[in-house]
């Protein structure tokens, strides 16, 4: 994978300044993303999961340079995007596009569908002839399942699922190599969600895209992703192949997340132990020392408060936990596997 990587993120940090509690008090920082590293391979779908406040949306925005970075590198196409000027980033946006969570809010209500999808072509390929652009817009609409006669309609005339198809078309029309999808199906109805997930999968295969799929819904993430990154309070807890994560989660946080997902089968659902799910996300302004998860972790020991665990290989996972290879923690992973 190392050489085939399309995107290589290392030590990425995004820190937001927060108003001090006292006048002339020390400036405080919210470390939304704090030293995140991962790679995305060619034609790979990388899932990123975590609860609200874990920094996953900030991470998505940081990758396309929509928020200022505090440090780290984003290697794409042989160069580091982190120090690039806005103008230099413009050329990169032909290759890296983004799809947002709320399809209606991210589409200009005064523009027709055709104009919305044409917009990125117009700005990123100023030399492209108009006829060529129109051809591309029509072809892209067809690809995502929009009808040609919808080209002059306005976005608000569409349902949520249709609007998300417009958002997808707008991202794909420039023929990018990498698409960052920030919670693309979270706002959609159950029956529509599966349509859009299938569409993304089809497009990924047909166009040979690399996808970053960010969501809090572990079911969707497992379905679409090849590999999965688990984030907590701005840090990577675990990275592993899809099957390894779900069959044998190594990090106690991953184990807890999986245990919390309700299973649509009453017999299984009622046998499960929900008491393993405890506590709430601490304030990201005042994260715990050492391992950020230790305050909710059933296996935390004194060392976890003292020393921040580094990512290391345990079994099929990269995991940031001092006790990941401890038999006690490993046993909990086993129960995930045996759950039937």
């Amino acid at each position: 994978m190392a050489d085939g990587a399309v995107l290589r993120v290392s030590g990425l940090r995004v820190h937001f300044p927060v108003a001090s509690k006292r006048l002339f008090g020390e400036k405080r920082w919210l470390k939304a993303v704090d030293g995140v590293s991962f790679e995305v391979g060619a034609h790979e779908t990388l899932g990123i999961v975590g609860e609200s406040g874990c920094g996953k949306s900030t991470l998505a925005r940081a990758l396309v340079r929509l928020v200022p970075l505090a440090g780290g590198a984003i290697e794409f196409g042989g160069r580091d995007l982190a120090p690039l000027s806005d103008k230099a980033m413009r050329a990169v946006r032909r290759d890296v596009q983004m799809i947002f969570q709320d399809p209606l809010a991210s589409l200009d209500p005064r523009m027709t569908v055709g104009n919305i999808i044409d917009e990125p072509l117009k700005t990123l390929f100023p030399d492209m002839p108009k006829g060529e652009r129109a051809k591309r817009v029509r072809a892209t609409m067809q690809r995502v399942g929009l009808l040609p006669n919808q080209i002059n309609r306005y976005a608000h005339e569409f349902s949520g699922g249709q609007a998300q198809r417009i958002g997808i078309a707008r991202a794909l029309v420039v023929e990018p190599k990498l698409v960052v999808c920030d919670e693309p199906v979270s706002a959609l109805d159950v029956s529509i969600k599966s349509q859009v997930i299938n569409l993304l999968q089809n497009l990924q295969e047909e166009l040979g895209l690399s996808l970053i799929f960010i969501a809090h819904d572990l079911g969707s993430v497992r379905h679409i992703s090849d590999r999965i990154v688990v984030l907590y309070l701005g840090r990577v807890m675990e990275i592993a192949d899809r099957d390894a994560i779900y069959e044998r989660a190594r990090h106690p946080y991953t184990q807890m997340l999986i245990a919390a997902v309700p299973i649509p089968d009453p017999e299984i659902a009622r046998r499960r132990r929900l008491e393993v799910v405890r506590g709430e996300l601490p304030s990201p302004l005042d994260p715990p020392s050492g391992c950020p998860f230790r305050t909710r972790c059933a296996y935390a020991v004194e060392r976890c408060a003292r020393e921040q665990p580094a990512l290391r290989r345990v079994g099929a996972s990269l995991v940031a936990c001092h006790r990941a290879d401890d038999p006690e923690v490993a046993r909990a992973a086993q129960t995930n596997e045996d759950r039937e």
Partner: protein, 330 residues
């Protein structure tokens, strides 16, 4: 012997809008028994929220309801607000997806809780405080007494939902209606709130109506499940029966389009084609006909009546043949 707390019969809800009449609920009959959790599933446009707002007498001004809603045998649909206020404060409670819309951001939680009691129950302030602390403790909020002085924004999303539940419990309601109570919450917090709802039902015998689009949530806590589509009841059964022996194509479609963590991953998800219904332009006949894989001519002519499958399992569908098995659909 189960007691029926709430009896809804042939309920209709309509809204007058600039785009014409929106038919949100079209003749739904449902019952809620004491101490049970009734799960109500539906997507947007199913009428699942408006149905319960109508029951609570909380429809928007352009909405009107017809039919009958009986609370322990007594008709409550169309009661004047003065009477409804007394019911809502005491015998029926409702919690919503976003607690911030229901809590007043300018008042402390304590003020909002005790007011319910001093105003509706004519309780002395000291007793009202004590009762509020008890309610917060019942929903596992620690240091309850000091929390009374806090404002809603000082609580996390999960804690706010606990506060909402505590407020709804103040009057010892016979029915608690929870409309998507965990949709805005993270899965780990959701698991905790669901465990809490289960516990409250067991401790206080409160009937709970859980409205959600998430079948996983339903499976976790519901005793019985009602499936709504286009403002109509499509299928209803005891929870285990519905998940194992569903007899409606829409229920089948919903169940199979959710990726499940406990099953082998499939190459593609099963889907329901098309879009949710437009309640301003409902077709005659079955509202699901346009998206149904088993559609017959009869479905487009008239809405199928509710028929008994077995026991108290009912469905509204003309299709008599078998439904596709899961592995074939996927």
């Amino acid at each position: 012997m189960t007691e029926r707390v709430l009896d809804i019969d042939d309920l209709h809800v309509r809204f007058r809008t600039a785009d014409g009449v929106v038919n949100a609920v079209n003749g739904v009959s449902l019952g809620v028994d004491a101490g049970e959790v009734l799960g109500v599933v539906g997507e947007s446009g199913s009428g699942k929220s408006q149905l319960w707002l109508a029951v609570m007498g909380l429809l928007a001004r352009n909405g009107s309801a017809g039919g009958s809603v009986k609370l322990r045998g007594e008709e409550i649909l169309g009661l004047p607000n003065s009477k409804l206020n007394r019911l809502r404060g005491a015998r029926m409670g409702m919690i919503f997806q976003d607690p911030m819309t229901a809590l007043n951001p300018y008042l402390t939680v304590g003020r909002q809780m005790t007011e319910v009691l001093t105003w509706h129950r004519r309780m002395k302030r000291r007793d009202a405080v004590r009762r509020s602390v008890e309610a917060l403790e019942a929903v596992h909020i620690t240091a309850a007494e000091s929390r009374l002085g806090m404002y809603p924004h000082e609580f996390s999303g999960g804690m706010r939902q606990r506060v909402m539940i505590a407020m709804a419990l103040l009057g010892d309601p016979e029915v608690l209606i929870a409309d998507e109570p965990t949709t805005a919450l993270d899965v780990t917090v959701q698991a905790q709130i669901l465990a809490l709802l289960n516990e409250l039902r067991e401790r206080f015998g409160t009937a709970v109506v859980l409205v959600t689009h998430d079948l996983g949530v339903i499976a976790q806590v519901a005793d019985r499940v009602a499936v709504l589509y286009g403002g109509r009841l499509m299928e209803q059964a005891e929870s285990g029966e519905l998940f194992r022996h569903y007899r409606h194509p829409y229920t089948e479609g919903l169940l199979h389009s959710v990726p499940r963590l406990d099953e082998e991953r499939t190459a593609r998800l099963a889907t329901i084609p098309g879009n949710p219904p437009d309640l301003a332009h409902l077709p005659t006949g079955c509202p699901f006909a346009a998206r149904c894989a088993y559609v017959h001519d009869a479905c487009r002519r008239a809405m199928p009546p509710l028929e008994t499958v077995r026991g108290d399992h009912v469905r509204a569908c003309y299709h008599t043949g078998p439904l596709g098995r899961r592995e074939q659909v996927a």
